[in-house]
Amino acid sequence: MSKEKIKNSIKTGSDRDGYFGEYGGIAAGENLMANLEELKKAFEDAIKDKKFLDEFAYYCKHWIGRPSPIYFAERLTKKIGGAKIYFKQEHLNHTGSHKPTNTLFQVLLAKRMGKKKIICESGAGQHWSAAAATAAKFGIPILGVMGKIDCARVNQNLIKAKHYGGKLKVVEGSLREAITAAIKEWSNNPDYYYLIGSTCSSSPFVDIVRYAQSIIGKEMREQFMELEGKLPNEIVACAGAGSNFTGSIFEFLDEPEIKKVVVEAEETAALTNGTKGIQQGMVTKFLQSDDGSKSLGGSSLGAGIMYYGISPQLAHLNDIGAIEASTASDKELLETYKLVAQNEGIGISFEPAAAITEALKRAKGKAKDYIICATACGRVEKDLDVIEKLIGKDFE
């Protein structure tokens, strides 16, 4: 199927103007336009360069430890009673999440472009620690920007990033404010490389991050064919802005028989509750005041899924019915964490707990040969203190 040219394929990047349907585009200041044009050209050239792609593949394997395995969660499956539950084990990657695949790709791109310094933002600090590790590996100085709310709760990632040599700037707020502040830093220093962590902001960032992360779905295809002789019936993954989910499902976009379910934090579910707007460099769905002057949305335990917007590509795919959207609450995240830890001996972070919550709901009562794969995109270290404080006594 993948070899045939598919009519009306939706497995594509953005159009000529950077849009996915009516979402996406470039809503950036004039002083960044030359950078975005330069980046687009560099990206398009790089992905035609076999040497560049070979280098990316080499470090994916030997530095990140890809491919990340798929894992049959047997005890959990028995406990729920229904479909076979699989995890795509992205938390086993170096630095403990799906993030280093993107940072590796973009740091190699920055190097290819001759950039001497990197700026990035981060929510849960998974991107920050991955970016700092990658920058250290290639000897490029890096400045990170994070919100105070997030810094207070993901200390492990901050310590790791510091040890890799990353310099961190802390701003008020969380991921939204971090993105704005990082873009401001970039405006002031347009000769730097801006290493975005997810499928958001102006074109071509959405395409770049999707390109790097779509390796997740490609691996899944091979791994499921080898282990099960067939593809999963459903793929479930969480989303803040959407790089983990997009990476998990992009490979299968032209196979509508495979259900693709995105799970957002209940408090910041832009796909489910958002309205169309233009902020953060893009046209997409946001939780915003009616007049577009303020962002809305509450706080989630999952720092990495606490984002008031969503990838413009996902907003489009949701509109045309190619994906389904759901949400998970803090209470569910904690319950699911506990279930996974106690039944599978795996410590997942809050973000993938959102995906697994949904996978468990969907698995119940389904046929035994029905397969649901949830992407486990982060390991628990960053959240251990919070979990211990909230439900530590449950484990005694």
Binding site: G18, G25, E37, I183, S187, S293
Partner: protein, 250 residues
């Protein structure tokens, strides 16, 4: 001289008084910024003023009311609304343009709307129909190829950025400014106004001598307001402040 004000900062009445006194002092174009949370192009001074207004629920509608009041005070002064696409998109675009025309303003300037953005094209077409201007910005990083394309879209006047960065963040390099103005002049006969980093009347004089047709002062006016919020003579003092700039420009 062009002066930038954050709409309704610190409130509607004082903001209107401040703008009136500024016009009396010789401001020829008022740039009225409508507050928004993200304000991704603004430095800390202007960003804080936006936040002050947002806390008081000031909207684009209030900004249009203020613009109307300014027009009622003075028939000749230029009035440009400045801000971000978010608010205009949600207004939505066509209604905004109608209300902008009803307020008898001259146009608007949108920081995060390059001509590649389809919604910018929609806004530009709507403004054109009402004979209003969409002021375009040129940055030092704007390439020649891009400048040529942009020059076909220029309307009213051209906003030349003195440096690449957010408002109020860097000192101005005079040679860079001269270069910028020369570059833009090669592509247009419209007036060119220089903005960003003009903090004092002395700066204003230097930049004016660099060949531009006007200068834009923003952060330093907003900063003056912030530092003198409790002063009952704030509008008069802003007026005096602006007179000092205007003197240097004559």
């Amino acid at each position: 001289m062009i002066a930038y004000f954050v709409a309704c900062y610190p409130n509607f009445e004082q903001s209107l008084e401040i703008i009136k006194k500024s016009i009396d002092a010789g401001v020829s174009i008022c740039e009225i910024g409508f507050p928004t949370q993200e304000a991704s192009g603004e430095g800390i001074v202007i960003k804080n003023a936006h936040d002050h207004c947002l806390e008081r629920n000031i909207t684009l509608k209030d900004t249009l009311k203020l613009a109307r009041a300014v027009r009622d005070y003075n028939k000749d002064v230029g009035i440009i609304l400045m801000g971000y696409m978010s608010n205009i998109f949600r207004y939505p675009i066509d209604n905004f343009v109608k209300d902008l025309a009803a307020a008898d303003s001259d146009g608007c300037l949108i920081v995060d709307a390059p001509h590649e953005l389809k919604e910018e094209q929609q806004l530009r077409n709507a403004l054109n129909k009402e004979n209003l201007s969409l002021i375009k910005l040129v940055a030092p990083t704007t390439t020649e190829v891009r400048l040529k394309k942009l020059s076909k879209l220029f309307s009213g006047w051209v906003y030349s950025l003195n440096f690449s960065g957010i408002t109020g963040s860097k000192p101005v390099d005079l040679d860079e400014v001269k270069k910028m103005i020369k570059r833009i002049k090669n592509h247009t006969d419209l007036p060119i106004c220089s903005g960003f980093g003009i903090k004092s009347p002395e700066d204003a004089k230097k930049i004016a001598n660099a060949g531009c047709d006007g200068i834009i002062v923003g952060s330093s006016i907003v900063d003056f307001i912030t530092k003198n919020l409790d002063d009952t003579k704030l509008p008069e003092n802003i007026g005096k402040n602006i007179e000092n700039f205007v003197k240097e420009l004559r």
